[in-house]
Subunit: 439 residues, 2 copies
């Protein structure tokens, strides 16, 4: 039922017209957002689960009856299952604009109905994995933590978003539920409210260090960051004397570049060079890169709002388009919305060092060099490949991203990695365009 | 468990220090996004449900044990409930920056723990209701439909987002599940794929009109919008002859201003002046206003991505701050992050015509004219006011928005509606600031 009404009205038309031939749809993303050099395909496993379990409940049918659908169509929904096939890239694969991420072939009513839910899952999860990968690249090895839960667009976004961040290389999340559900390392220490809950900052720090004597992190900017660093240093020395060890300090406001330098100095003067400096406060890949470029001695970044919502991008133009049915390949000609006709495969090319050079989109069955990215994922409505663990997907993703040429992994990536079409595919496009124009 | 880890580490500190006095936190939004004149408070009822049902399951405790929390704290979580009180504005109330939307008073561990989940719900739902209200205002009575499902940030965002849109005056949604769950009218007709599934556009239109002879809407831009309008007109006339009636045509690409005028002409020439023109394609409040300003004959707009994600805003700065505990009122002084100390109430002032003029934030107990906005919502951990129906909330929201001065309801609203502090509150701020600076 998580679908657009028009999927059902169209289904009713196909049902009534007896037009339930086999059709193929491609799911792809039309365009990379400004400065983005690649996407990380994600949400694929959820999509496979959805395809293989989808059905209508009796109360769904009842609701649709109230919306005026005819009995014969409602009857068909009662036994509705997805019985077709799906090809998909592996979750965690870097992909580019207009490359099919998933290709669905099924009876038209089945292939059409799944559009909305597939887009909902894949659009968001792909966007966040891609955004997180940008943040990780910008941090050049400094640890990134996902602090996005409170600004995520509701619970599912928080959960799937934390997972997407981890998949793309983020080290930990503040989201306890995501930690529990997905086995992601969790991180977090204190808010300003803790500091304000004690008569003085020093007392708050001492209380915290008492409960967490090993590796605790103190938030030092509630009143005055440099004074806060001195209080933290005092507590750090007290911990040393008692056999404990302060883990770090966190800055959450103000000018992070100059403050982090001052704080580093305060800590180092006390011999606390092992105490890490962590920073948060509306960070993104641009600000992290700038801080590191300018020599900010920051060891880790907590990234919230912008990573979990991909603000200002907020949505990527993933679409799902009919590319073939029993009457042959199809093309859409609406301005700015062209689709590539027919069943296709994407081949990835690498140089001698294993660095990816370009991709080639070919019509199904063409012999092309390179690694084919689309693999059989669902056959006859059943899962056709094993679900990898999140750890496996993360490892795969990080390996694959490392093979993308460096320039496309910059914070301001050029446009764009080369994606070619084979001659045969180009020819098919021309032919179909001519045919429609002449109609 | 949908919480940041630091809520639990702080809880552990309070538990160990025996520091579980009563504390009050305010939930408020720091700033209106550019051009926004107001917010619509939303997510309040979900927040109340959360507060009154929150608990930890055994497997949650087990997970936290693995994270190194001590047994005595874990034991306290086993019986953890929210037992405090919450004041909140009514769902659907227009609110402004820095006004408390919700005020929680409870034992410190309880009041602190709920922060993240409350923010997650209220931030998103408030943002979308506010964005949708802007779109509705821009449309000046033209119908708005929510087409956002496929671009929503996962399922919860789609569901709560559709609800938020409807609450704020949007007329219908394409999201069938939201229709079923919330009783929102659903809308939708066909995608380009339907048109492409038939040998010609005309055949596709005829098939659709066959199944939906009353009020169907035809998508006319798959190949060429003006040709599409002619085909639609032909089918509209055929329907007339058979006693049916074409409802409308939809444009989903290209230059909507000139196309809508041409399409109106094609339809009117055939006497089909009753056939409505609907438009979609990356619309927002700005483009809708511009289209209407320039006389586009469009009767309804389908708004997707930007309404369901509030792109480019994507997140609003809703925060949750300690304002008082048993040691007295609290203030936070971090740059750009000031909070208003102590328990407070917001009073709304109206002129003779019932138009709102300004709000006054007062310390609790002060006598101020106007309507107090914060009402008791949870008492001793139990719901203290009835949950309104969505229809009631929608009606209330529309009535209240209509009382905001027109200039703050413009697409480019000035900054901003006046929110004053009472002298007593100003004095309290000065006093606390001095005290902390002198520390």
């Amino acid at each position: 039922m998580l679908t657009d009404l028009y999927q059902l009205t169209m289904g009713a038309v196909y049902h009534e017209q007896g037009k339930d031939d086999t059709a193929t749809f491609d799911l792809f993303i039309r365009k990379l957002p400004k400065d983005w050099g690649y996407f990380i395909a994600n949400g694929i496993e959820d999509a496979i689960d959805y395809l293989t379990t989808l059905k209508f409940e009796e109360d769904d049918i009842e609701y649709l009856r109230g919306q005026g659908f005819k009995e014969s169509y409602l009857e068909s929904l009662r036994s509705f299952r997805f019985e077709g096939e799906a090809y998909a890239v592996k979750e965690g694969t870097p992909i580019f604009a207009n490359e099919p991420i998933m290709r669905i072939t099924a009876k038209r009513t089945q292939a059409q109905l799944v559009e909305t839910a597939l887009l909902n899952m894949i659009n968001y999860q792909t966007m966040i994995a891609s955004k997180a990968s940008r943040v990780v690249e910008a941090a050049r090895g400094a640890k990134i933590a996902d602090f996005g839960l409170r600004r995520a667009q509701e619970e599912d976004a928080a959960m799937k978003g934390s997972r997407a961040c981890y998949l793309a290389g983020v080290g930990a999340t503040s989201n306890v539920k995501a930690g529990k559900e997905y086995g992601i390392p969790i991180t977090g220490t204190q808010a300003h409210s803790l500091v304000m809950s004690f008569p003085t900052e020093l007392e708050a720090f001492r209380a915290y260090a008492d409960t967490f004597p090993q590796g605790g992190v103190l938030l030092i900017d509630t009143y005055d960051t440099v004074k806060g660093a001195r209080n933290a240093a005092k507590v750090g020395k007290e911990l040393e004397a008692k056999g404990g060890k302060l883990g770090g300090v966190r800055l959450d406001s103000g000018e992070l570049l100059s403050l982090s330098k001052k704080v580093r100095q305060v800590l180092d003067e006390q011999g606390l060079d092992y105490v890490k400096i962590l920073a948060s406060n509306d960070l993104n890949e641009y600000s992290i890169e700038e801080l590191l470029d300018r020599g900010a001695p920051i060891d880790g970044f907590g990234v919230g709002t912008e990573m979990i919502t991909a603000k200002p991008v907020a949505a990527i133009p993933g679409v799902y388009k009919l590319v073939e049915d029993e009457a042959g390949p199809k093309i859409k000609l609406s301005p700015g919305k062209r689709s590539l006709p027919g069943k296709k495969q994407v081949f990835r090319q690498a140089d001698d060092q294993g660095v990816y050079t370009h991709d080639i989109i070919a019509t199904e069955g063409e012999e092309v060099e390179g690694t084919p990215l689309l693999e059989l994922a669902v056959k006859d409505g059943e899962r056709a490949r094993q679900k990898p663990t999140l750890q496996e997907t993360r490892r795969y993703c990080l390996e694959e991203v490392a093979k993308i040429p460096k320039r496309f992994r910059q914070v301001k990536a050029p446009n764009g990695y080369k994606v070619e079409l084979t001659e045969k595919l180009e020819e098919k496009i021309k032919e179909l365009t001519r045919a429609y124009r002449d109609e």
